[in-house]
Each structure stands twice: as structure tokens, then as C-alpha cells.
């Protein structure tokens, strides 16, 4: 048996070894990556081959590079060295001219090679953190309003205090007024700065929540796996009652959004009952076009939403969903690890989501490749449909939905694949005709 095959056939063993070392229960890991414990058990005993998205998900859960699981530590080390060299700006001298000798280096100096690999992982982690924070500083409306409040209060205090300490006479009435103003503003500043600190604490880049109503809804749906069995029943509970019992929905606005989302979920469930739709989705490989033909009265947008709300079958990849309004603002996000959906600001204008907005009621499909490391591929299915009942003398209001399906198919030569990003600020694509602003990524690839 060739060495490569032997190495690959032991992927399951490496997964098990790593999981046990981390003290992870098999059922917990299975749940985290969206497969059954029984299926994970088969993988861990090397009775099921694993690759692609599921391998990447498991590697992420186990905090290890996928190549370590797939190929073993030595190959992963060489891969990390090459990644580190490739990440250097083109202007800096690196070892990638001709013979890179990475294997020789890793073999002779495994300790130093491990240090470089660890540094590369650390740099990548910090880059992601910076991307997120920069995106947030530029676009988070809550942060902008909080900072404005703090700076305005500081301005009032500074101006009043300067008047009091400047030389010259000042009437008692004015002096008292400015003392009072400084006292009031200092209290206000204390409150607004405390609120700002609490907001930043609650929404650290690691936890990635901001306390905004839309994010409460998404955190709650994420915890449910975006599937709500209670609303699939013949006699479902009142959405408001369900929202009241959800710990993630802490604000009235969050609960109101969730109520609206659940009412639509229920309508979708009535139009496309779970058992029949799930069976058809399995049989038709979750193809929205084929499902639209099978359920002609349901509407394409409902089919896209319904597919994103189905439990992920064992061994299958999670499906993402993005919904935007007529302005292009994302109103709902079910992100994928390799297809992030921006929290603030506008998304990539090349997405089929936005093409669909310009062609209402016409389904749009495209093969996509996400720019950046990994260059993961997806099939995206999008459609824009009117919101609310039709009426005269009212502006048309549309909403577009885009289903994002990881795509591991082999490509035919010449098959078109559209390169897209997440948002311009953190997109490495060069010479993009749709770029709005420069990328913060230095020396984009």
C-alpha cells in the first residue's frame, strides 16, 4: 500500500486521538459538526473516509489544521512552512524562488519548523481578529453612536472647564451654571463610558455578538440549529410564547424580530411540510431547482429558506442563507465557516443575491469561489420576491434570499466559477470591478 494511502486511511484514528487528548466527548464533537455520534464513531475507526467540508469542520472543532488529521504531523508541518512563506509580501525575500527545501528544513530542524508553523497560525488568528475589529469600527452603528455620545460629553466638559480656569471675571450666575453643567456632564460621561465598556465587553471579537436585535435572533436560531421542531407540529405554539422562553432573546426588539421570523417559518412549514420536503430534499440532493419543480406552488424563496431550516443530514455539509432588503442590507444571516457574512456594512456586490435584486422573480444560480485562504467553492441560488401583498400607488418592496451550498464537485474544464469576497474591506481580490474601497489586507494576493 502506498504511504500516502496509509496516511490518509488513518485520518479517523488521528481524529480520535486528538479528541481524546482534548477531553472532548464523541457525542459533543458530533453535535458540533452536525453529524451523528454513530457516524463519527465509524469515521474514528477508519470505516468511513472523510475529506472536504466535514474534515475542515472537525479540524476546526479540534483546533488543529485539517492536514494534520488527513496527512499526519510531518506533512502538515511542511504545509505550514509553505503557507508561511507564501504569506510574505511579494516585495520581501522568501524561500519560494525555485527549490523551497521546506521538507529538508522540517526534517533537519523540526523544533524550529514547529515554531514557524505556530507563529503562522498565530498571525492568521490575529489577522482575522483585526479584520473583524476594523470592519466593526468602520460600520457598527451602535459603536459609532456610543463614541459620539462620549465625545460630545467630553467636548461640553472641556469647554465649560476651560471657561472656569481662563483668566478674567465671570459672573457668579455663569460660574454656578458651568459648575453644574460640568457635574451633570461628568455623571453622563461616567454612564456613557460604562455603557460603552459593557458593550465592548459583551461583544468582544471572540464572541462576535453585539447585543443588536438581529444578532439576538441569529444567536438564538444558531442555538436551535435554525430548525424549530415546535413550529413543524400540526398545532404549533404561539411564536410570541416561544420567543419569551428563549434566553438569547433579551430585548423586546429581538423578540419581535423572532416573532416575525417564526410566523414566516410557520407559513413555509405549512406550504412545504417537513416530512415530504425533507425526503424530497434528500432524494434531489438539496437542489432548489428540482425542488421548485416538485413543489410548484411554494415559491422559490420559501424553498431556499426551507432548505436552510432543515436539519443537516449525517455526513452532509451545512447550508448557509443570506437575506437582504431592497437597499442591499443583510437582514438575516446563517453564515458558513468558509463563507462569512459581514456583520456591518455592505457585502460583496458580486454575490448572486444582488444580481437577483436587479432581476426580481428570476432565480439566479452561480458557482462561487471565496477569495482568500482555502479558496472554498460554493453553489449559490438566489431569488428576489416582492414583500407583502400587491397594491397600487405604493413603492415596490423586494427581498432577496441566497442559499449557499458548499460544493465539492469536480469541475469540468472551462466551467465558470465566479470569484467573490465577503466585503471590500477584508477582500484580497485585486482589480475587482465591483470594489468600493481599498482592502485593509496588505499586499492582497
Amino acid at each position: 500500500m502506498p504511504a500516502g494511502s496509509l496516511s490518509g486511511s488513518l485520518t479517523g484514528s488521528r481524529i480520535r486521538q486528538r479528541r481524546v487528548a482534548l477531553g472532548f466527548r464523541q457525542s459533543a464533537l458530533a453535535r458540533e459538526v452536525g453529524i451523528s455520534a454513530a457516524y463519527l464513531n465509524l469515521i474514528e475507526h477508519n470505516k468511513r473516509r472523510i475529506a472536504g467540508k466535514l474534515l475542515a469542520d472537525i479540524a476546526r472543532a479540534l483546533k488543529v489544521d485539517p492536514s494534520v488529521l488527513a496527512e499526519g504531523a510531518a506533512a502538515a508541518l511542511v504545509g505550514s512552512l509553505r503557507d508561511a512563506a507564501a504569506a510574505l509580501p511579494a516585495s520581501q525575500p522568501g524561500p519560494l524562488t525555485g527549490d523551497d527545501r521546506a521538507e529538508e528544513f522540517a526534517g533537519r530542524f523540526p523544533g524550529w519548523a514547529a515554531v514557524i508553523a505556530a507563529q503562522r497560525r498565530r498571525i492568521r488568528h490575529l489577522e482575522r481578529l483585526v479584520e473583524g475589529l476594523t470592519d466593526r469600527l468602520a460600520h457598527d452603528p451602535h459603536l459609532a453612536a456610543s463614541l459620539h455620545e462620549v465625545l460630545s460629553t467630553v467636548t461640553a466638559i472641556r469647554a465649560s472647564a476651560a471657561i472656569l480656569v481662563e483668566p478674567g471675571e465671570i459672573e457668579d450666575e455663569w460660574r454656578d451654571r458651568f459648575h453644574r453643567n460640568i457635574h451633570e456632564d461628568s455623571q453622563r460621561l461616567a454612564e456613557s463610558s460604562r455603557a460603552l465598556a459593557a458593550y465592548l465587553d459583551a461583544s468582544g471579537a471572540e464572541t462576535e455578538t453585539t447585543g443588536a436585535p438581529q444578532e439576538e435572533l441569529e444567536a438564538w436560531l444558531e442555538a436551535q440549529g435554525y430548525h424549530l421542531p415546535a413550529l413543524e407540529a400540526a398545532d404549533p405554539p404561539d411564536p410570541e410564547t416561544l420567543a419569551q422562553g428563549a434566553p438569547e432573546l433579551t430585548s423586546a426588539a429581538g423578540r419581535a424580530l423572532a416573532g416575525g421570523w417564526m410566523r414566516r417559518y410557520r407559513r413555509d412549514a405549512e406550504a412545504l411540510p417537513l416530512d415530504g420536503f425533507a425526503a424530497a430534499a434528500r432524494a434531489l440532493d438539496r437542489d432548489p431547482g428540482a425542488l421548485a419543480a416538485r413543489f410548484p406552488g411554494a415559491g422559490m424563496a420559501a424553498i431556499l429558506r426551507r432548505l436552510a431550516a432543515l436539519p443537516t443530514p449525517d455526513g452532509a455539509a451545512r447550508i448557509g442563507l443570506a437575506i437582504c432588503d431592497s437597499s442591499g442590507a443583510l437582514t438575516f444571516r446563517k453564515p458558513l465557516a468558509d463563507f462569512p457574512l459581514p456583520r456591518y456594512g455592505a457585502a460583496c456586490p458580486l454575490w448572486p443575491l444582488y444580481q437577483a435584486l436587479s432581476r426580481p422573480l428570476t432565480p439566479v444560480r452561480a458557482a462561487l469561489e471565496m477569495a482568500g485562504e482555502g479558496r472554498h467553492r460554493f453553489m449559490a441560488y438566489a431569488v428576489a420576491e416582492p414583500v407583502g401583498p400587491p397594491g397600487f400607488d405604493a413603492p415596490p418592496v423586494f427581498e432577496a434570499a441566497m442559499l449557499i451550498v458548499p460544493d465539492a464537485r469536480m469541475r469540468m474544464p472551462g466551467e465558470a466559477v465566479l470569484q467573490v469576497g465577503t466585503s471590500c474591506r477584508i477582500c484580497p481580490l485585486k482589480d475587482c470591478p465591483a470594489r468600493r474601497e481599498p482592502s485593509i489586507l496588505a499586499d492582497p494576493a
Binding site: 463614541l147 465625545l151 460629553t153 467630553v154 461640553a156 472641556r158 476651560a162 451654571r177 458651568f178 456632564d185
Partner: protein, 122 residues
């Protein structure tokens, strides 16, 4: 007769402080706190200078400045823009629309006074 400044700002204590500083220097200061009705107030008072905050209730200072510059009767009026954001793109936007001067909060009283004197003198 003293020169007149219209301060369009919604923070009462900033209004008091700027009003005091300018009044002590001999200016007549009026204030207005609402963005939506700010243009009507500028037309009514026809001041020698407008100090305009960017973030106002109901309408942004940028929109007000655009309207002001498009009005033949008011287009040449000096406008000092105030903002709590000091990013270069805010400054660029203010200058593109036609701000005479751009000042970032928090500013010093001396800086404010000198800017007002210079803008009206020029």
C-alpha cells in the same frame, strides 16, 4: 453692530459653553437644535457664520450644508462644521460638500474662537 453666529447643535451644555465664549468676544449667538428645520432657521436669521454639528436630530449636518451651498442667497455663507468623528473621510466629505472649516470634538475654546474670527474676517 455685533456679528451674528448661528450655532446648530443639539447638546445644550455645548451650546451654553460656545455661546458664552463667543458672546464674551462680542458676537451675538443664536442656537438651534433640530436638523430638519435648520435651513428655515438659517434663512430667517441670515447670520454672518453658521457653526454646524454633523450629527443632529432628524437630519444630518452634511445634508443641511448641501442645501445651503445650493441656495444662491446663502451659498457663500461661511460654515464651520463640528463632528465627533475625525476620520479623514469625514473631513473629505465635509470639504467636498463645501464646509469652510472642519473641527473635531473635543476642541479647545481658543481654537473655536480663532476659527470663527478668521472665517468671518475672510
Amino acid at each position: 453692530m455685533s456679528k451674528r453666529v448661528l450655532l446648530i447643535e443639539d447638546e445644550p451644555n455645548i451650546i451654553q459653553a460656545i455661546g458664552f465664549i463667543l458672546s464674551r468676544d462680542g458676537w451675538t449667538v443664536d442656537s438651534h437644535a433640530d436638523g430638519e428645520t435648520a435651513m428655515a432657521e438659517i434663512r430667517r436669521r441670515a447670520p454672518d457664520l453658521v457653526i454646524l454639528d454633523v450629527m443632529l436630530p432628524n437630519r444630518s449636518g452634511y445634508d443641511i450644508l448641501s442645501d445651503l451651498r445650493a441656495d444662491p442667497a446663502l451659498g457663500a455663507m461661511p460654515v464651520l462644521m463640528l463632528t465627533a468623528r475625525g476620520q479623514s473621510r469625514d473631513r473629505e466629505q465635509a470639504e467636498r460638500i463645501g464646509a469652510s472649516r472642519f473641527m473635531t470634538k473635543p476642541f479647545s475654546n481658543t481654537e473655536m474662537l480663532e476659527a470663527v474670527r478668521e472665517l468671518v474676517a475672510s
